[in-house]
């Protein structure tokens, strides 16, 4: 009941898993946990992509290099993604405009794939200069938003997230917690905001889908 009251606009339908969740709070927690793990996983994988750029042949103890960056980065990314993924549906609810554009899991998967592709491009493709790289990535990110989100609120939130995250990483780098090999934008890489924006859109997409798990969409919240 609480769920229905809280979300009058979203047609709540759910699969067997979510239906076993008894309360709104529990549901929220589970969604948060799922998002957290997705975030951690993506952070690890994408970090690996960045590491890989310089090294081609790995020594046998390559597993350690997966965790070679600071340990707190993946949990932070996970927390951030959980927050973002919960924030998007919450915002939709408060604005009273449910997100209906391409609400299905295949589209979400496509979105994630494009996001990983953007990261891949930023790590692997050799660009002539950094401006070109940043512009390309910005165009790709906007394309991602247009293809999978297309809501003004999503765009605004994404820009806000990108700004905040860039600010945070600037502060971190400024205080020497973390370092980039070749900073070209104050202290960080200039493509960072684009990646953050795309990541925000992607996690929001996942979060929205999780919040609106439907029978037709066939849930697989897990």
């Amino acid at each position: 009941m609480a769920e229905n009251d809280a979300k009058p606009t979203l047609p709540k339908k759910s699969g067997p898993y979510i239906s076993s969740v008894t309360s709104h709070g529990m549901n929220l927690v589970i969604r948060g946990i799922v998002l957290f793990f997705i975030g951690v996983f993506l952070a690890l994988v994408l970090n690996l992509l960045q590491i890989q750029r310089n090294v081609t042949l790995f020594p046998p103890d390559v597993i350690t290099s997966i965790f070679s960056s600071a340990w707190w980065v993946p949990p932070c990314c996970g927390t951030a993604s959980a927050v973002i993924g919960l924030l998007y549906p919450c915002m939709d609810r408060h604005l009273g405009e449910p997100h209906k554009f391409k609400r299905e899991w295949s589209s979400v998967m496509r979105c994630v794939a494009v996001f990983v592709g953007i990261n891949h491009a930023s790590a692997k493709v050799d660009f002539a200069n950094n401006i070109q790289l940043s512009l390309t990535l910005a165009a790709l990110s906007i394309g991602l938003w247009w293809t999978f989100d297309r809501s003004r609120s999503g765009f605004g939130l994404g820009v806000g997230i990108a700004f905040l995250a860039t600010l945070v990483s600037q502060l971190l780098v400024y205080n020497g917690v973390y370092q980039y090999t070749s900073p070209d934008f104050l202290y960080v890489r200039s493509w960072l905001p684009c990646i953050f924006f795309a990541g925000g859109i992607t996690m929001g997409n996942i979060g929205r889908q999780l919040a609106m798990v439907s029978v037709e969409g066939g849930l697989t919240a897990f």
């Binding site: 008894t22 042949l57 496509r110 794939a113 990983v116 891949h120 493709v125 070109q132 066939g218």
Partner: protein, 1239 residues
């Protein structure tokens, strides 16, 4: 007509004709497409095989010089030169290939003697190589100058620190096992253990330390105890930084002088350059695997949306094939036009698939499937195509535009990607249009033929009418219970996929697909494949040699013709070199002496051995793992990825050791440990072994390994079986097969279940029981907040629907107490069955009641009803026909001769086949009360209390009650006061609709009265105004739900086809349509905002009408017997009939989806909570069903287990609570929490 519209029409027309073409000639088109795919993929054959295998290129040794680092200034034919052959190699590898044997062999020698003394000579040989120096005009050059200087080992390899050289020349030999120290070697009691101590225990396909130091595959080394050939081979591997031809040839000639190999036929004329591709490490693999996982998830989620086709899997496969072959085509086309892919194909592949996408395919399928089923297949395909043509073209144009933008980023990698994507998109479009459409048409045609005729007959779904033996239940015979009280009869069609509980679904999936079995099979095949591929002597080498054979420069791989022994290899460059310690004369001496010594010296001691050099020794490094060199260099943090090494022709060295030498180096412990080498058969065997060495030399070793593997396999198999058995015992309960009724707390036992025997967890919910009514509840009404009920005695109670509190009782309790003794009596009676715990209290009470009330039976009105209603209800729900008949005769005097068909009356309220003058709702309390109240009327009582309430409606806080005597009353629900009443007509009000301020009352005499309600502000008194009476035909069912239309129907008397339901407009009460089409009377109607109207008749047929035009939309034969209730959701129509079957129909197509067999008497109690949640009543329980899938979600038992009142009515409130009418009690059931989220 604008340009876009023109374009649109043209496109859609083109697609239409194309669809017709595809569906008309499916086979030729598929063949044509297949040919196109093959033709486009043909250039792919020229591409190298995928994999990270090294590539070779050989150049002659003569006038070799390292290639210049500049690509442009290369001489020679550039076409022969691979593009990686640029710059100096990482290293030159010089191997000194040693073959040693003890000769002549004495019979009392031990097995270790085969390799101990030959290995001991390696120290000497290494010293010779290390100390070799070339003196010529430019000075002295030593090995240190030309060799590859290596630094530290990687920090992770500390255990190898003593074994691999550090800070010096890269010189590897078996001597490294003993730190190149002869003393250590001599002191080593167990050589084999030393050598094998660093061998990995698990399956290892890459180079091991033994391979590295021996420089050749372990099985060729001959260092084992079963070496019948008694020839030990090893190499000394030398890594060189620079290519110094003079130094190398001096080394070669010196070694040949010292240890001549007279019959050596190794070719020495070419250097092989081996180029290594980029390695794929774990770190690269993880992102790759992630993208592929995402890709598969995408494909999965996309293809699962394919529905309504004959073979879902077939179409999904076709979709995937479409995408994959379009990718292959694009790569092939790009190669054809000279765009060789430089990107790593495996990496960009997932992104390409995502860009190309499966969307079009799905959209096509959906569009085709949604065309009318009754059309011809050709036309369906054509229509579906042309419907989606515009969006497909638009999407395609958008994607092309995006890719075009990407092309102008001018980044080479992105440009290449875009190029591929464009070609891929175009070929994908081509395939969709030709291949997929055709496959779809074939599929649809198959479905037309096979499934459609199977789907239509609804009768097939009805289970045979079974004589349920309720009487036996009373006798507590749980064994004889109705077989399946809750079964869904499902149609075996692809129409819907049944949703089972997750656990079962997983198991069924495993069982259906034999997943585990197949996985194991696939795993085995892959494993074997890996073994074969990576085996140094396996497929890989074969392929390599094939490739080198084909390549013009690969003659090195060809085995040379065997040359008779004693002939020196041609091209020996020793002639013009002045080699420091060598002596040409000594050479000739050695050559002549050695065979002599062998020949006449020690023949009597044993057989002699001769070292032969054959074709199998040619380029022995080829037999090494192809990861041999990369792993060696990676130990020093030197990568070979995208670089190459040059392998120089090996220098053959043959060592013959005499028996004294072998005896000298023998370790004292070894003599005790090993027996003489095959003392009995050794000589004979070794003599025989000479001709066919290759076949038999490792025989014994292999045997032991085989036995070990077999034993291990057996042990692990037994373990696995035991483990599975334990798991089985753990998972399956002991009473497996006993119907799973371990929770047999419920004596009734017949748990509702699915077709699959799955019964969901039952929930004991204590419902909110609303007690207070003295007799059976007749009418119910609710507006979400309030709940109004009226029992047979005419007592109206108002409840709070949320809390279950009784707010108001009409009439007021005190009045009632004062006034009528019958209430007291009834109350006392009411308590009486409480003591009983039987199932039959209701029956008993009703029986009792009937006996009580049978004497006063004054026919008050002409339409005075009889007892049939009450009797019907009770009997139909609880008593079997056989039993009820006599009682009925005893009680209902008017009934008995009627030949009552009880089964046709079950659950039916409105139907009365032979009732006197149209009595429709009769109630027991009615007559008794009316008789009673006549004698003592209540002056203080404003309302009419003489007659029973036949109909009830509620809006706001106003209750409208229609009474049997034609009186219409409006009550205040909170205060319980009469606000207004109207008794203009005497005819009983059978149905009421209260909407806004209008009241529509249907009366027994067939008139429909329209009242409007007005408020007098001063008196707060409501007044009826403007009554309009419309003479409709006898109004039986009145349906009206928030729509400005009133639907009425004639239930009886006019059974001819002349009259159907009539539709009236609420505002002006004018009759809009009479819907004609039913052959019998109308028994149930439904109307909602979507302007679709459903009606069910006596003939068991359901008609759907379009309200705007009054035309019949569809007509389906639903039930055997009357349709008793009818309701719709947005997608289905749910009907229940006298046959106790609830049927669910597809609303748009009128096709029956499935049906649910209900318990006796509960047939018509159903309610729709949401679009996909249905609740049905049962014997003391309510069940929740998923409408979309037809599976039982949950059964909720109300109250204690041994009370089993049937749920006669179910009313769904807005907050998803359900009110069930259980006799005289109301139960307020909130939807179980499990189901809460479903809506």
């Amino acid at each position: 007509m604008t340009l876009t519209e023109k374009l649109r029409e043209r496109i859609s027309r083109a697609f239409y004709s194309h669809g017709l073409l595809c569906a008309s000639y499916p086979i030729p088109i598929i063949l044509f497409t297949g040919l196109c795919i093959l033709a486009c993929c043909y250039p792919l054959l020229k591409l190298p095989l995928p994999g990270t295998g090294p590539v070779e290129f050989s150049t002659p040794v003569k006038d070799y010089f390292p290639p210049s680092p500049d690509v442009v200034s290369q001489q020679g034919d550039p076409s022969e030169r691979p593009d990686w052959y640029v710059g100096a190699p990482v290293a030159y590898i010089q191997q000194i290939f040693v073959k040693a044997t003890v000769s002549p062999w004495q019979k009392n020698f031990l097995a270790v003697d085969v390799f101990r003394s030959p290995l001991s000579r390696v120290f000497q040989l290494v010293e010779e190589i290390r100390n070799h120096a070339l003196r010529d005009s430019s000075g002295v050059r030593s090995l240190e100058e030309v060799c590859l200087q290596v630094t530290d080992l990687l920090p992770g390899l500390r255990k190898l620190r003593n074994l691999l050289p550090e800070h010096g020349c890269l010189l590897l030999s078996p001597g490294n096992f003993w730190q190149n120290d002869r003393e250590r070697f001599n002191a080593d009691p167990d050589i084999i253990k030393t050598i094998h101590q660093h061998e990995p225990k698990t399956l290892q396909t890459s180079a091991t330390l033994k391979d590295l130091l021996f420089g050749l595959p372990g099985k060729y080394s001959g260092v084992n105890l079963y070496n019948r050939r008694r020839v030990v081979s090893y190499t000394v591997t030398l890594g060189l930084q620079r290519y110094d031809s003079r130094f190398l040839s001096s080394l070669r000639s010196r070694l040949k002088l010292l240890h001549p190999s007279p019959n050596c036929t190794l070719r020495e004329d070419s250097i092989v350059h081996v180029h290594f591709k980029e390695e794929i490490g774990i770190a690269e693999l993880i992102p790759l695997v992630t993208t592929y996982i995402i890709l598969f998830a995408y494909i999965y989620f996309s293809t699962r949306k394919i529905d309504m086709v004959k073979s879902k899997w077939g179409l999904a496969l076709a979709a995937v094939v479409t995408v994959l072959s379009s990718l292959l085509m694009s790569v092939g086309l790009c190669t054809l036009f000279g765009l060789t892919p430089t990107l790593n194909g495996g990496e960009i592949f997932p992104y390409l698939v995502v860009v190309i996408g499966l969307e079009n395919v799905l959209v096509l399928t959906k569009s085709v499937v949604s065309t009318p089923v009754d059309l011809e297949v050709k036309l369906r395909i054509a229509q579906g195509l042309s419907n989606e043509s515009w969006s497909i073209m638009k999407n395609m144009a958008t994607e092309l535009g995006i890719i075009l933008i990407g092309y102008f980023t001018l980044v080479p990698a992105i440009q290449e990607f875009c190029l591929f994507a464009v070609v891929g998109l175009v070929s994908d479009f081509f395939l969709q249009m030709l291949f997929f459409t055709t496959v779809l048409s074939i599929d649809i045609r198959r479905m037309e033929l096979a499934d459609l005729n199977k789907r239509l007959p609804a009768e097939a779904c009805l289970p045979p009418a079974k004589p349920a033996s309720r009487s036996q239940r009373y006798e507590r015979q749980p064994a004889v219970r109705p077989a399946t009280p809750h079964t869904i009869t499902l149609q075996p069609s692809s129409f819907r996929n049944l949703r089972l509980p997750k656990r079962l679904r997983v198991i069924y999936f495993f069982a259906r697909t034999r997943l585990a079995q197949r996985l194991i099979m696939a795993g085995t095949v892959i494993w074997i494949g890996i073994l074969v591929y990576t085996d140094p002597a396996g497929l890989r080498t074969y392929l390599t040699s094939q490739v080198t054979e084909q390549s013009p420069l690969g003659e090195a791989g060809l085995p040379p013709m065997p040359v008779p022994g004693g002939v020196l290899p041609a091209g020996d460059p020793k002639i013009d070199l002045s080699v420091f310690p060598s002596d040409p004369i000594q050479l000739s001496e050695n050559q002549t002496q050695q065979p002599e010594g062998r020949g006449n010296g020690q023949t009597e001691l044993g057989t002699e051995a001769e070292v032969t050099w054959g074709a199998e020794d040619e380029e022995i490094w080829r037999k090494l793992s192809f990861r041999h060199w990369p792993s060696l260099f990676s130990y020093y943090n030197i990568t070979l990825a995208k670089r190459y090494i040059s392998i120089l022709p090996a220098i053959p060295v043959t060592l013959y050791l005499n028996p004294q030498e072998a005896l000298e180096v023998r370790h004292p412990q070894e003599a005790n440990r090993y027996h003489p080498f095959l003392s009995s058969t050794g000589g004979k065997l070794s003599a025989e072994a000479q001709p066919d060495q290759t076949s038999s030399r490792l025989h014994g070793h292999r045997d032991v390994t085989l036995y070990k593997v077999a034993a291990l396999g057996l042990a692990s198999g037994i373990l696995l079986v035991l483990l599975l058995f334990c798991l089985y015992r753990l998972l399956c309960p002991k009473n497996y097969g006993q119907n799973g009724l371990s929770h047999s707390r419920r004596r009734r036992g017949d748990l509702p279940c699915d077709d699959y025997g799955y019964s969901p967890p039952e929930t004991e919910i204590v419902p909110l029981v609303l007690r207070g009514h003295l007799m059976d509840i007749e009418c119910l009404a609710s507006d979400g907040m309030l709940l109004v009920s009226c029992c047979l005695v005419g007592q109206i109670r108002v409840w709070d629907a949320q809390t279950g509190d009784c707010l108001t009782v009409i009439p007021k309790p005190r009045l009632r107490r004062d006034s009528s003794g019958i209430f007291d009596y009834q109350e006392s009676w009411d308590h009486s069955p409480d003591g009983k715990n039987g199932l039959d209290d209701s029956f008993e009470s009703s029986h009792q009641l009937k006996r009580m009330l049978s004497p006063p039976q004054p026919p008050l009105f002409c339409d005075q009803p009889d007892l049939t209603s009450l009797i019907d209800t009770n009997f139909s729900e609880q008593v079997k026909v056989a039993q009820s008949e006599p009682r009925l005769r005893a009680v209902g005097g008017r009934q008995k001769e009627a030949g009552y068909d009880f089964s046709s009356l079950v659950g039916k309220v409105y139907e009365d086949e032979e009732g006197g003058c149209g009595g429709r709702r009769r109630s027991l309390g009615d007559e008794s009360l009316s008789g009673f109240d006549k004698s003592s009327p209540l002056p203080s009582w404003g309302g009419d209390f003489e007659s029973s309430v036949w109909s009830l409606d509620l809006q706001g806080n106003l209750i409208v009650a229609g009474r049997s005597n034609g009186k219409l009353e409006v009550w205040d629900a909170i205060e319980g006061t009469l606000r207004s009443s109207n008794d203009e007509s005497q005819s009983g009000i059978t149905a009421l609709v209260f909407l806004n301020n209008r009241i529509v009352a249907a009366r027994l005499n067939g008139s429909l009265d329209f009242f409007s309600l007005e408020t007098h502000t001063s008196l707060n008194h409501l007044q009826f105004r403007g009554r309009q009476s419309v003479c409709a035909h006898l109004v039986g069912v009145l349906g009206c739900l928030c729509s400005p239309l009133i639907l009425s129907s004639a239930p009886r008397l006019l059974t001819s086809a002349s009259r159907g339901p009539q539709v009236f407009r609420l505002e002006d009460s004018c009759c809009l349509f009479t819907l004609q089409g039913h052959s019998g009377a109308i028994t149930a109607v439904y109307i909602d905002q979507t302007m679709v109207l459903a009606s069910g008749g006596q003939d068991g047929a359901i008609c759907l009408w379009d309200v705007l035009t009054g035309s019949k939309v569809s007509h389906m034969y639903a039930h055997r017997g009357d349709v008793t209730s009818l309701t719709c959701t947005t997608s289905c129509v749910i009907s229940s009939g006298l046959d106790d079957v609830i049927s669910i129909w597809d609303r748009s197509s009128g096709i029956k989806l499935y049906s649910i067999q209900q318990e006796m008497g509960c047939g018509s109690s159903l309610g729709v909570i949401s679009d996909n949640l249905l609740v049905t009543g049962g014997q003391g329980c309510v069940s929740f069903w998923d409408i979309g899938y037809g599976d039982l979600l949950q059964t909720v038992y109300l109250g204690k287990s041994n009370e089993s009142q049937p749920a006669r009515q179910i009313l769904v409130l807005e907050n998803a609570a359900i009110v069930c009418n259980f006799g005289s009690e109301l139960s307020l059931v909130y939807v179980p929490s499990v189901l809460e989220k479903l809506d």
